[in-house]
Point group: C2
Chain length 157, copies 2
């Protein structure tokens, strides 16, 4: 898989911004997942959280929204110099979108054994027909991300 | 896989409308793939073709656009009574979106050995972590769909 384990969670920075988006999603009643995209200079060019309920859009995962926003902002289908930070392991749809967008590096928080598509399920980047594989950095600030999700679902039971 | 082979291409109907969308996409300089969604009554509630170039959006495949449009029109993230017709085997991103949207039946045209995600590549609906599997009907009007794609790419070589 070529996963690059970095146990240290960064202080501030893009993953902190993604966690802020996840908290904002929870406050809207959405599953708390947040994502940001940074350009080659490390500048955040898109930040958003899940909006599947608000938009009545099953594709409106945080990753999809920031990929679309960043591509629109850059006027390009390809985000070859961009990195994506997301608080949860992307699902197969989002992982395949990361590949389609030619994202350079993917940093994610908590693993998602039930619905993840990177290190679980169809393992989108592992297959021979995957045309672009980002560098993948899992377990970035995984603990606060998982805590947000646990609290969200516990409150709904 | 539970694929349901129906060698007869339907006359008119949703797949003909999807082929019209594919031709319109080609005329715009987009990879010629078209899709429509019909509701439980068989009424077309969304129709579109690829717009990745026009929208600078790597996620703007025909299937994604019609899923988003149909969900917005119905005001629901779930399209449980809806069927999707698309001229080419969906890629992994689109196949996973079909699953997320709870599409009832998926009809598609030409197989896509290079980039497909249903009967090729990660075979999205075949895995144990796939939470919703549509009924899948491949090879519906596959020949005109494949001819459109061949002509499009031949003209660009």
């Amino acid at each position: 898989m070529g996963l690059n384990h970095q146990p240290e969670a960064p202080q501030g920075g893009p993953m902190a911004a993604a966690l802020d988006e996840a908290r904002a999603a929870a406050a809207r009643g959405e599953v708390p997942v947040g994502a940001v995209i940074v350009d080659a200079a490390g500048i955040v060019i898109a930040a958003d959280g899940n909006r599947t309920r608000a938009l009545s859009d099953p594709t409106a995962h945080a990753e999809m929204l920031v990929i679309r926003a960043a591509a629109a902002r850059l006027g390009s289908e390809r985000l070859t110099q961009c990195d994506l930070y997301v608080t949860l392991e992307p699902c197969p749809m989002c992982a395949a979108a990361v590949s389609a967008a030619r994202i350079r590096r993917l940093y994610y928080g908590a693993p998602d054994p039930k619905s993840g598509g990177v290190e679980h399920g169809p393992r989108i980047f592992a297959g021979p027909s995957c045309h672009h594989r980002p560098e993948v950095y899992p377990d970035i600030a995984a603990s606060p991300s998982a805590a947000l999700l646990r609290a969200f679902f516990a409150a709904r039971r």
